[in-house]
Subunit: 95 residues, 2 copies
DNA sequence: GTTGTATTTCATCTTTTAATGTAATAGTTG
DNA sequence: CAACTATTACATTAAAAGATGAAATACAAC
């Protein structure tokens, strides 16, 4: 890996390395969810979730679509899914 | 994944998500290196590298042995190696 | 034991990140 | 259009992380 790639990768990991954001990514593994549905499982404020979602969007990790006044989020980068799956098998083998 | 595991995983990712620390881990993928050897490739101060190494040690990611007045560092958790390898194939396929 | 090299510790400063509360926007329904 | 819901933007504050330089430790060699 070259420095440039390492920097990019570090930035990506950093965006995943907050408990709330990692949990959001786990929740979005197999389905899309609205902000409200996420908040129901994450236990923080709406505004806070919105900010975390923005960080993930900025990294191009998640995407969203609008429907009525709901915004449905989903993971847009297949590689992230694979990475999460790998972390799961490596670090939580029994689940 | 449960919240407890997510928190642990986020902490682990966080410790890997700094450019210098990620680079150190990449350098240590296939060999052990002293602090000086690492510094030669990372371009920051000795003290700074020492601090980053401490963070990685605190996470149990790397281990070290002493020889004379050199300290040789190596990755102690096989899972980290696998994770780095996976990131490599996913995000830097052409290298 | 003094000199020299390698590494770490410590204190400080700066920067970044995260949380919180409030106001704003966008869309829906009656 | 008024009332309501979902989401975001903004401003502020609090907390954590990172960099830096100087001093301290550890070991080796002369």
């Amino acid at each position: 890996m070259q420095d440039q790639q390492i920097d990019a990768m570090a930035k990506l990991l950093k965006s995943m390395s907050h408990p709330i954001r990692l949990k959001i990514l786990c929740l979005l593994q197999d389905k899309e969810l609205s902000v409200g549905e996420i908040r129901a499982q994450v236990k923080t404020t709406n505004a806070n979730i919105s900010q975390h979602l923005n960080i993930l969007r900025g990294q191009g990790i998640i995407d969203f679509r609008k429907d009525a006044n709901f915004i449905y989020n989903r993971i847009s980068d297949r590689r992230i899914l694979e990475l999460i799956k790998k972390m799961h098998t490596l670090f939580c083998p029994s689940m």
